[in-house]
Symmetry: C2
Subunit: 186 residues, 2 copies
DNA sequence: TGATACATGTACCGATCTGTTCACCTTTTC
DNA sequence: GAAAAGGTGAACAGATCGGTACATGTATCA
């Protein structure tokens, strides 16, 4: 299998795990839906867990890329970028394929503290917080670290409630709070 | 099996599902750990899903009772109650047995929109929001519904991040934001 | 054309899944 | 004390789990 094919496998496996959950998605289904035989899958991933980790790596990279790029597109100031994030979330919640945050779900299913999947899930949140902090610094926030953590808090709460309620309202509510927190920034 | 025994079964099954997850916890393990034979379990619950629903009903009732009572114990004004909630969360995060919110995890593993488990999980959040709104009204908040939703947002974000990071810090951060949102309420 | 390398489908492994059957054993009740 | 009721372990069914073995392509290179 070429590297292309391998990437294609991970790409096609992602929505399966995202929609059905990790434990509930069997490797037979992965093989059937991706069109890659189980033999080939196990030639490149020693275990199901390794495949899941590859899927999470892809998700981490593509989600953060997507979010950061959209934020840059839709606002030109750092403070503006942090605020439009909630508009972007709202658009995400509207998509039919929206099923909540893949990393929250991963850490919910693999919650042992040392677990590689659990660690990777939290790493995703840490990287997001880091990006928020950088923007908060550029926006001259009085306490950039604190603002970044608060915005992450609002983002995670909004995602969870949007996924559970099947509505987009939590995005708007989170944005309102964010506006209060950022009132002093331009 | 007496009603007592049945309640005991549900009570003892709860931490199993909470710790190990729903799909990952087999009925053989439930029988072994609760001391109730599989035969008896299936006499009172037609399917695993029904047992899970009973567990979630117990969790919903006991968690809300526990939280509301603690809030009343630790503060005498409605606004104070809403604020100490975050201190209570922090204590919860400190417990060794803390593994995040059982309903978030349930809706993560059973995310089909019509699913009974999914519906029940969201109902838990709705009831919490209702309680928050009642308190917000009593505290003469200018927009009680909005404040209730915002506090719920902060609470869910804090729980998710505390579970993923294995720290209690999100509770304090959420409380700080809550204080800002409630600055006008005595 | 013949040898090498790799991807394939299929069948299989042992374990585990939800759920059932059944022969026993207590306990309650009349 | 016998019948009825309800609980037990253990074995089982049929399906699916993660993972492997193997024989059959099929493409590349000499």
């Amino acid at each position: 299998m070429s590297q292309n094919k391998r990437a294609e496998l991970v790409e096609n496996a992602l929505p399966l795990f995202y929609r059905n959950g990790f434990h509930a998605t069997g490797m037979d289904l992965v093989a059937k839906e991706t069109g890659v035989s189980k033999t080939s899958i196990y030639k490149h991933f020693r275990t199901k867990e390794e495949l899941i980790l590859a899927v999470l790596r892809l998700r981490d990279e593509s989600f953060r890329n997507w979010l950061c790029r959209k934020m840059e597109e839709m606002a030109d100031t750092p403070a503006g970028q942090l605020l439009v994030m909630f508009d972007i979330l709202e658009q995400w919640f509207l998509e039919d394929s929206f099923r909540g945050c893949m990393f929250i779900k991963a850490s919910a299913e693999f919650q042992d503290q040392g677990d590689a999947i659990n660690l990777h899930a939290f790493e995703h949140k840490r990287l997001l917080e880091e990006h928020f902090r950088t923007l908060a610094e550029q926006a001259n926030a009085s306490n950039p670290s604190q603002l970044a953590r608060e915005l992450l808090l609002l983002k995670e709460g909004a995602i969870v409630l949007a996924a559970m309620s099947h509505t987009t309202a939590p995005a708007k509510q989170a944005k309102q709070v964010a506006q209060i927190l950022m009132a002093d920034l331009a």
